[in-house]
């Protein structure tokens, strides 16, 4: 079997952020895939160790542009657990409202990107137009379209008053109509079905084995949703269905997401209609004991995982963030096998990748058997060695 190598990325029109895929192809068929995702290392975990808790909220908010509220909520949730705080119910509900609006906006954005990947630019334009409505709603509630700055330790910073709630409820009607439209479109459009059905197969067994999360796992029939498994905020009180699909392909992931649009809209409506009275936040203690906590959250893309260890100086000693995209990369490698070159953008887009959330650096040198961090000079020398090894010369 002979094949050739196609290098997709780090600069490629299908990728919105840098990542590199070395695809081994035989004609139009993909034999295997190598990933290189670390182009965007920003040192946020280290940065978290040098800031106070309050300031960290604004740092983690900037890990991801799309799930900014997810990151802050998950971080606050962890610190609140260390502080042993009871969060007022109103704050919990407002957190859920923002989280679900964010999910709608993320899924609409994703549907557009997926459409663009298969050349369906009309779908891309329509979904992004409707996403504007969601962004406007979030702006009305929080004052920011993307960086909401809604959370504080112990609760939320801004209230959803009656006038705002009324406005949001009104706009939800329009969005519900649009969600129905997209469900109808995904179910009936022939060319969409042709590109999605049977593409990017990830069996339930492999999804479990490769620890896929979020809609990628649910699209393969794995019943895994942190909102159900480990309810946080007000998810224990708000009724919703977990959407899964057994088709195990890109269509399944698509199906899960468009139906989740509908579920999320229902949840926002329920939360707004049953918004409890009360405080917006609980007072926080001055000192925090040294402790460690694991905080989990269902971001639009899947399980968001934080490990936080605090020390006696009211600072974070170590924080680790595992974003859903990072957990899903292995499933992409699996799903890509045996597919066509034309399916590359679709399968990559189907996990809704967010590259800059994903970058990690740990140096594992297979030849020298070393593990650890590098200094800047060492890194430079390493990169020159690496490029020379691939036949790319360095002439001054």
């Amino acid at each position: 079997m002979h094949g050739s190598e196609l290098i997709v990325g780090p600069q490629h029109p299908a990728l919105k952020e840098p990542a590199s895929f070395r695809v081994h192809v035989d004609g139009e068929k993909i034999l295997s895939l190598d990933l290189d995702i670390s182009y965007n290392h920003r040192g946020i975990e280290k940065g978290m160790e040098q800031r106070t808790f309050e300031k960290n909220i604004y740092l983690v908010e900037r890990i991801c542009g799309i799930c900014s509220h997810s990151h802050t909520t998950n971080f606050c949730k962890g610190i609140e657990e260390i502080m042993n705080l009871t969060i007022p119910r109103r704050a919990q509900y407002i957190r859920v409202i923002m989280a679900e609006l964010e999910r709608i906006h993320s899924h609409l954005l994703w549907l557009g990107v997926e459409g663009h990947g298969m050349g369906f630019d009309t779908l891309f334009m329509y979904t992004w137009r409707d996403r504007e409505t969601v962004l406007d709603l979030m702006e009305t509630i929080s004052g920011g379209r993307i960086s909401h700055a809604m959370n504080r330790l112990g609760g939320v910073r801004r209230d959803v008053d009656d006038a705002t709630a009324k406005k949001v409820l009104q706009e939800l009607k329009f969005l519900e109509g649009r969600a129905d439209y997209y469900i109808n479109l995904v179910k009936t459009e022939k060319t969409l079905a042709k590109r999605m059905k049977g593409v990017g197969i990830l069996s339930k067994k492999m999804a479990l084995e490769l620890a896929a999360v979020g809609p990628t796992a649910r699209g393969s029939g794995v019943k895994r949703d942190i909102r159900k498994d480990d309810p946080y905020a007000a998810y224990g009180e708000i009724p919703f269905k977990m959407i899964t699909s057994d088709s195990c392909d890109v269509y399944g992931r698509n199906y899960v997401r468009v139906y989740e649009l509908k579920e999320s809209l229902d949840m926002v409506r329920y939360a707004l209609e049953n918004l409890p009275k009360g405080d917006l936040y609980a007072p926080i203690p001055d000192t925090v004991k040294a402790a460690e906590v694991v905080s989990r959250y269902e971001a639009p893309r899947g399980e968001l995982f934080y490990y936080i260890r605090t020390n006696a100086n009211n600072m974070i000693e170590r924080a680790h963030v595992r974003t859903p995209t990072f957990a899903n990369w292995l499933s992409v490698v699996e799903a890509m096998k045996g597919m066509h070159i034309a399916d590359i953008p679709i399968i990559i887009a189907a996990i809704d990748p967010c590259m800059s959330c994903t970058s990690r650096t740990t140096i594992v040198d297979a030849n020298d058997r070393k593990l650890g961090a590098l200094s800047w000079e060492e890194l430079e020398a390493y990169s020159i060695k690496w490029y020379k090894g691939r036949g790319i010369g360095w002439e001054k």
Partner: protein, 325 residues
Amino acid sequence: MNWLIEAFYIFFFPGFLFAIAYGFFMEWFDRKLYAKMQDRLGPPFLQPLADFIKLLSKEDIVPKAASKALFNYVPVLSLAFLLTAFLYIPIFSNSSPLGFNGDMILVLYLKTLPSILLFVGGWHSGNAFSSIGAYRELSMVFVYEVAFFAVILSPVLITGSWAFSDLAAYQQSNPWFFILQPIGFVVALMCLQAKLGRVPFDMPEAEAEIVGGPFTEYSGKKLALFRLCTNMTMVVGSALIAVVFLGGPSLLFDTSSLGWPAMHLLGFAAFLIKTLFVIFILSVVRSAFARIRIDQMVFFGWKWLGLLALLQIAATIILKMVGVF
């Protein structure tokens, strides 16, 4: 003074200058429609021209790995073929000033060459994405050109002549061919869409997959010429369909009694309206579908386009034998 008039025909109207200007207009019309259907504002009127001029002024890079001669001459040659093809299509009267018996074959032939040239250009770019795009282009040529030639053949079977003038004359006294041969019309439109490399048949370019395919390594003037070629394909293709299936310059009523200036002006207006109608349909198709895969395209092409085209020819032959035409 005969040569002066001929030079005017070739270079100004209905020749190169008009063809290029109309190409820019068509590109604007298509982009505006596409934008409007997507709920966007769309480009201003002179945007295609501005894009073209901007591309002309950009740096022109020839990759080290490319075969220079082929890489450089491909855009010029394909533009030349398309401009020549346009000269033979009647746009204001029943026959083009340069028309002859058999001009249809020449136009069909000249219209096919740019696709082959695009393959050559892509193949010699020395880029993996270009090569993929190039062989996709070639696989598509074998699908849609066969169907396209077949459906063009069936009107010719009725008129019995390979001249545009006979075809147009026939449609002046009879119903237009898109009524007589609706299947052929639809197949021809689909083939034109494939020829233009637009959604759902844009896999040779498919920027999300293979970065623009054969165009990947082209930049500056050569890319500008390629874009001009796409516009010219639009003009030639839509004009061809307008003449073959929509009656060319003929209108629903008899215009020959109005004297030749009015008759030709009306014929020209009919040509414009019909070609823009073709572009309108193509725009709707472009915005209503997702791109299909190359294997699905080959399957679709042979299963549906090819089959329907053969069906159309069979129907025409049978009806002719029965004596309907």
